[in-house]
């Protein structure tokens, strides 16, 4: 099925030396009591499989998860009028990003525990998920009906949650791309992912952990124990584009919907002028040679 051998699986061995922290385990995700009518059709408690083993991740499945969550790797992605992403994640670049992330967390659950709910399906009367089981039942499925064990595995389950962190292994780390499919939100899965990331990073003695949040992600990270920088720093991103800064011939790079200007190679005359004025106050004046163009 989805997790069958794909040509682009990440071939990486997991390092299980996390000092006692399990690299993968089965947990329960519980939905809070909700007055919403839809919740009666969704399961209240489902088993999930949380893993930090990179080899459990199938890049194509991950790319589909990005799509289901309407999440882009670009901070300023191209969107249509409905706010939906136009381009799917570039799978080659995603694989590179994954291989250079120091921590990958993936969450799986059984397919029948997931209601295939897209935004446009809201409000439709749906049969309970049990009725949508695939006709072929594997041993795991049979076992689950006879003995209600929490049997979930990456190979039979569906990727429903993800998160990753990039670090310099010494001082800082940044968390990116935390996501859970819409139908399973509100069950603590996202929080579980972030908590796992933090536990592993602090276990490696990294306590300076940052997460770049859009306005609607802020509440989530706040609930995970994140806050504004106590040192009062300002978050800034490079956004110099053709529209904001016109200056003759420019090399630009596409980043989502923004065309970022690449800083030119030559030294600005401004910096040279300052160099001259701040030099030694000798009568002849020193000579400043501009050697780099």
């Amino acid at each position: 099925m989805a997790a069958a051998a794909a040509p682009m699986t990440i071939k990486m061995k997991a390092c299980c030396g996390y000092g006692g922290i399990k690299a993968m385990e089965i947990r329960w995700a519980t939905r809070k009591e909700n007055s919403n009518e839809v919740s009666t059709k969704l399961k209240q408690r489902i088993p999930i499989f949380i893993s930090t083993n990179p080899s459990h991740i199938n890049p194509q499945e991950l790319r589909d998860l990005y799509g289901s969550c309407n999440h882009s790797c670009h901070r300023f992605p191209k969107m249509d009028k409905m706010g939906k992403l136009v381009d799917p994640v570039d799978i080659k670049r995603l694989t590179i990003a994954l291989s250079h992330s120091d921590l990958l967390v993936s969450v799986f659950c059984n397919k029948e525990d997931v209601l295939a709910s897209d935004d446009d399906d809201c409000g439709n009367e749906r049969e309970p998920s049990k009725g949508e089981n695939p006709p072929v039942l594997g041993l795991g499925d049979l076992l689950q009906r006879v003995v209600p064990l929490p049997v979930v595995s990456p190979s039979t389950g569906m990727l429903v949650g993800f998160g990753r962190a990039v670090s310099d292994h010494g001082l800082t780390a940044s968390i990116f791309d935390v996501m859970v499919i819409p139908s399973l939100r509100g069950m603590g899965i996202g929080k579980m992912i972030v908590k796992r990331i933090i536990r592993i990073l602090t276990g490696r003695d990294i306590y300076d952990i940052a997460a770049l949040c859009s306005a609607n992600e802020r509440l989530f990270f706040k609930a995970c124990g994140f806050g504004d920088d106590i040192m009062g720093s300002t978050t800034m991103m490079y956004t110099r584009t053709l529209s904001t800064h016109i200056e003759g011939d420019q090399m630009v790079k596409c980043a989502g919907r923004k065309l970022l200007i690449v800083p030119p190679l030559s030294l600005s005359s401004q910096s040279l002028k300052n160099a001259k004025s701040s030099s030694m106050k000798q009568s002849g004046g020193p000579s400043v040679k501009r050697v780099w163009t």
Binding site: I96, H169, C224, F226, V262
Partner: protein, 238 residues
Amino acid sequence: MLTLNVVALPSILPIFSAQPCNHQFNYLLANTGRRKLKVTRPRANFWDSIRSGFLKDNSTQVVESPSTLQEEEEPQPEEFVLVEKTEEDGVVEQIIFSSGGDVDIYDLQTLCDKVGWPRRPLSKLATALKNSYMVATLHSIQKSPGSEGNEQKKLIGMARATSDHAFNATIWDVLVDPSYQGQGLGKTLVEKLIRALLQRDIGNITLFADSQVVEFYQNLGFEPDPEGIKGMFWYPKY
């Protein structure tokens, strides 16, 4: 001794040798950009050893499919003279830009002290530099006139960036010696980082600026909280 000698550049090694130089070398290196330098970067990063293939046998490819996963090279280290000044007494000062990451960790600590930053554990600092995507430095080299000019080499600026090599990058630790500030050197360091990142199509370039330097970064093209994006930090609750 915690000296970081992560880059072995045989052709310009004399610049960074510990012994005083007795020869006149041509330090003016043309920035060809495509320069092939023999770089040995002893990365202890676990993923690297897996990515580049098996430790002993480099001919084996880790990835099954040959057409995919063109592992992009690390940014090529560059090194060149940025500014050269000749004083009236004949002393020549050169400011050398380098992206090779060759930083003496004690020099860096001295520089951090000069700008008033709190001290950080040296081993962590060294590890962080080693695992950064790019470390850009500025050194000042002062040569007295005369054939046995004793060289004074000083670290006067640094900036580094971490990245996932594909989408995101964060710039950390940008600093310039106070006596060299106001010359556009900090601007050069940051612009160099941005250039290197954008050339690799890494488009999300972020940094966390202290209030006094927000304007400095705005002049370089950075926007505070663009579209409401803010950085949040984890605080343990005991």
